[in-house]
């Protein structure tokens, strides 16, 4: 095969465009109201045509589903609602045949309280190997410096278990007890889980909640050296057994702390850049580039083999954990006047509603996402501008069924609407009659077409995934301008963060004699001279230019 799922290039993730989807929300193949692998398999052509190169599947393992599958009860099987292991294998093969890589979740930190390991542990005598799979204490006063993450739902990281007659540790919901990584047997178990999926051919793992693996008293219990040692061991295991597979760390931390999860290129291949995302939205609302330039300048360099994962929206709330209190207040006022939209320390909205369903703003944000240094992640449905449902609990409002058509159940399922795992979005602006794939397929001016073209264009230039970035400093702060360089190539990106036309004078004297060629239309602009280069940008306009030798 010319291109296989397991790409020959070990750095394939640097050029990837990742599409995040919950299997349950994408397509229901067996008409039971819940999305499944059969349905996802049927939609692979859609994903291939969209142009994404990698699928990131949210947890699909057997689970009580109290945290949408992040409470796993069996790591090496498929939840019956989503199909069988055989269905997964068929899907994986079909994805690889289409050149799509597949990344799955690896929830290392905790299990469901229904997992056999926990059921066994709570009944096992204290100090026994079975008991030691989890973190127990006779008191709930240990690790008091560890913050509570789900502040809206939990009051403590300890919960009393009447069966064990002890407290157990959990950084998330109380039904998600943390595994004890001080126990080598737990590490061995998890490596066996990795091997199971590696042998099936998955291309990578998204490591959930990675900073919290190990606990120590008088610390925040986050980012501890022992946690990094675990990650190194996992990476070494993967490199030895299945080179070329990728680890993506979910570490909602400041860039300097996240940096540690790359190690010396010997821990995770990728990690999310959490802080940049809210600041992109902030810059857009402020019409000022400073939040973006500040956070990017605070971002430390990472090893050559590593990569940032960038996103605008995902399955969780728009997290505001990594911003200052003032910034958080601003974001709440700017983007969630409706208190229903707030959850924990974040805003539970999709991309389109966040920006008032403004197509120019969506396009600008995607333009930034695609041109910043890293691998972009697109959340399912955002390519058609899907909306959300604030009246569904927790983060379920952004996990509604994919809107395929204007037909019953948005074409997601042929089941009785009452059987759907979640109601489809039906409001007049974002509801499935107005926003769906079928309609946008037949409209060459639709957001879906625009996204396809952008993805296609972005894939043409390795500089976006692999190049360096440096900001220019035009006097007009409503304009964000930066250079991306990779090998001989130089790309100039210019974006207008404001709702009105803006001028920009760029100091491009270092490139005098080169000609900017606008990349979307392949249009030559005037050759750069020694004077400031003048551009006019329309509202929320952005341009990408290749700087080429004149007449070359």
């Amino acid at each position: 095969m010319r291109r296989t799922g397991n790409a020959d290039d070990p750095l394939w993730y640097k050029d990837a465009i990742i599409y995040e989807l919950p299997v349950k929300s994408f397509c229901d193949g067996n008409e039971d109201g819940v999305g499944d692998f059969q349905g996802l398999h049927e939609k692979l052509d859609y994903l291939q045509n969209l142009g994404v190169t990698c699928l990131w599947l949210l947890p699909f393992f057997p689970s009580p589903l109290k945290d949408d599958g992040y409470d796993i009860a069996d790591y090496v099987n498929v939840h019956p609602s989503y199909g069988t292991l055989d269905d997964f294998k068929k899907f994986l093969q079909a994805a690889h045949e289409r050149g799509l890589q597949v990344v799955i979740e690896l929830v290392l930190n905790h299990t469901s309280d229904q997992h056999p390991w926990f059921q066994r542990a709570r009944s096992a005598p204290p100090g026994s190997p079975e008991r030691d799979y989890y973190v127990w204490s006779d008191t709930d006063q240990l690790y008091q410096q560890a913050r509570i993450i789900f502040v809206d739902a939990e009051r403590s990281n300890w919960t009393w278990d009447p069966v064990a007659q002890a407290y157990y540790w959990h950084r998330f919901f109380q039904h998600q007890p943390d595994l004890n990584y001080d126990n080598p047997a737990v590490v061995r178990e998890m490596l066996a889980v990795l091997d199971f999926w590696l042998d099936l051919g998955v291309d990578g793992f998204r490591i959930d909640a990675v900073p919290y693996l190990v606990e120590r008293d008088n610390t925040s219990c986050e980012n501890l050296p022992e946690t990094h040692a675990i990650m190194k061991a996992i990476r070494a295991h993967i490199d030895a057994r299945a080179p070329g597979r990728m680890l993506l760390a979910e570490a909602n931390q400041l860039p300097a702390d996240v940096r540690a999860y790359f190690g010396d290129g010997d821990q995770c291949h990728m990690a999310y850049h959490f802080p940049v995302m809210p600041r992109i939205f902030m810059a857009l609302h402020l019409e000022d580039r400073q939040p973006i330039t500040d956070v990017m300048e605070q971002t430390p360099p990472i090893p050559d083999s590593c990569q940032w994962a960038l996103f605008l929206r995902n399955h969780d709330e728009l997290t505001l954990e990594m911003v200052t209190d003032d910034e958080r207040d601003y974001m709440y006022l700017a983007y969630s006047m409706d208190p229903q939209a707030r959850l924990n320390l974040g805003i539970r909205r999709r991309l389109a509603p966040l920006v008032g369903n403004s197509r120019p703003r969506i396009e600008l944000l995607v333009g930034l996402l695609f041109s910043f240094p890293g691998t972009p992640i697109i959340y399912y449905g955002d390519e058609i501008g899907m909306g959300d449902n604030l009246y569904l609990g927790d983060r379920n409002g952004v996990r509604t069924p994919m809107q395929w058509t204007g037909d019953r159940n948005a074409g997601f399922s042929r089941a009785d609407p009452a059987r759907l795992y979640s109601p489809v979005v039906m409001d007049p602006v974002y509801g499935y009659p107005a926003v769906n794939v079928e309609a946008q397929e037949s409209d060459a001016a639709s957001l879906l077409y625009w996204m396809r073209n952008m993805i296609r264009l972005r894939k043409l230039f390795k500089v976006f995934g692999r190049g360096t970035m440096e900001f220019l400093s035009p006097a007009n702060r409503k304009v964000l301008a930066y250079l991306r360089r990779y090998r001989e190539g130089v790309i100039l990106c210019v974006a207008n963060l404001s709702r009105t036309v803006q001028p920009a004078e760029l100091d491009l004297s270092a490139f005098a004699g080169l000609t900017p060629v606008e990349m979307l239309g392949y249009t030559e602009f005037p050759t750069i001279g020694t004077l400031p280069y003048f551009l006019t940008l329309g509202p929320y306009g952005f341009y990408w230019f290749e700087l080429e030798r004149s007449g070359s």
Partner: protein
């Protein structure tokens, strides 16, 4: 892949049997009528030009049943011939590529692997089904590699206006515009290459691609053009091939050749979107005059095919061709024969629009490619009407203009590729 037969040198150089300076490879499929003469011509050429070199003959035969292998052994001596076996693929047996050589990609791969295994500094590949091979071909294909350090030697064949017309109209102009190398016959079955290029070829990932059987020769030329390799042409005179089995119809040939070109360019976007203009390459040998007898061609039939295609396929074309092109085509259908001219830039833009439609899969790819046939017929009619009694130089000049049309319209292809606009 396995090798059988002796590794002994054709000529008397005293080197280990596991080594060779030069590999001369034949690809064959039921070529008993020609392979003996071909092999003898090559053997004579080796004796004349490379008497002191260690040479191996390699035969990659696609399961001939007419005694081709035996004829080859008889011609070069059974002990001098290495016969390589390779998988031809069951599906290909029922779907013969236009050149009549099933499993050609696997054959070439086996040859190149053998050449690499022997440590050959130069390798020449020749189709055993030719009537026109001469001893001088050996010199032309090998000397540029061994003496002048070229990596890829492409044949320059002398052809009438209506010979090799798919190459003249599509493959050469598009290859040249995309990759910047003025290589006139990039899909030829014959070529010479260096050991360095052999290694590069074997690292390519196209060998097992579905269209490889028909497209491999072109893809090898593209791989050479896209890498840091020195490329040249060698004048080989005329190329007359024996017919293998039932001739393949024009529509299928177009679909196979153009499909191979389009498929490959999708994987080399990062190269061709950065290439500007094109460069001439050295040519070895003197270009002779063209023979007086051009094969007959029914120009009226071609024009009628074009007009019929416009009536019947216009609806399909509107999926890939913009309205202004459709209007231009309509005007052409109404043009009298003595003024019937296919504008070069119009032709180039049509081909580029088809490239884009193919890439975007606006319809089943085979349907799209076959719908090209009447357009090609129209172009060929126009070309022959202009070039009917032209000299080779005049034909070359005209093809040059076609190529310049493709080069000047390349900007159109890039802009449309980067931001495709759906027409339907």
């Amino acid at each position: 892949m396995a090798s059988t037969g002796s590794n002994s040198s054709v000529q008397g150089a005293d080197v280990p049997a596991s080594r060779a300076d030069i590999v001369v490879a034949l690809t064959s499929h039921n070529d008993v009528r020609t392979i003996g003469a071909v092999a003898r011509a090559l053997r004579d050429g080796l004796a004349r030009y490379f008497a002191s070199s260690a040479v191996r003959f390699v035969l990659a035969d696609a399961g001939s049943t007419d005694g081709t292998r035996e004829a080859a052994r008889e011609a070069v001596g059974p002990s001098a011939l290495m016969e390589v076996e390779y998988e031809r693929g069951a599906e290909e047996l029922g779907k013969l590529p236009y050149h009549g050589h099933p499993g050609r990609a696997a054959a070439l791969r086996a040859i190149l692997q053998t050449a690499q295994g022997l440590g050959a500094g130069a390798c020449a590949v020749i189709d055993a089904g030719l009537h026109t091979v001469e001893p001088a071909w050996i010199e032309r294909l090998i000397v540029p590699v061994l003496t002048d350090k070229f990596d890829y030697v492409s044949p320059y064949y002398v052809r009438h206006a209506n010979e090799g017309a798919i190459t003249k109209s599509i493959v050469y102009p598009m290859f040249r515009a995309l990759y910047g190398v003025r290589l006139r016959q990039p899909a030829a079955s014959e070529f010479g290459c260096s050991g360095r290029l052999v290694a590069h070829y074997l690292e390519q990932d196209f060998w097992d691609v579905e269209q490889a059987a028909a497209g491999i020769d072109l893809w090898l030329a593209v791989a050479a053009a896209c890498g840091e390799f020195r490329t040249c042409e060698a004048v080989l005179g005329a190329r007359v091939a024996a017919t293998r089995g039932t001739p393949v119809d024009l529509s299928t040939i177009l679909a196979q050749v153009v499909g191979a070109l389009f498929t490959d360019l999708e994987h080399r976007v990062d190269v061709w979107q950065r290439v500007r203009g094109s460069a001439a390459i050295p040519i070895f040998g003197t270009v002779p005059g063209i023979g007086p007898e051009a094969p007959p061609l029914n120009v009226d039939g071609l024009m009628e095919s074009f007009r019929l295609g416009y009536r019947e396929l216009r609806e399909i074309w509107t999926w890939v061709l913009p309205p202004r092109t459709i209007v231009e085509l309509r005007k052409l259908t109404e043009t009298v024969p003595n003024r019937f001219r296919f504008d070069d830039r119009l032709w180039a833009s049509i081909m580029y629009d088809f490239v884009l439609g193919y890439s975007l899969r606006v319809m089943p790819r085979d349907h799209l490619l076959r719908s090209l046939t009447p357009l090609y017929a129209g172009w060929l009619a126009s070309f022959v009407l202009q070039m009917g009694s032209a000299t080779l130089a005049q034909i070359e000049e005209r093809v040059e203009q076609v190529c310049l049309g493709f080069e000047s319209e390349k900007r159109y292809l890039i802009s449309r590729w980067r931001w495709p606009e759906r027409l339907r």
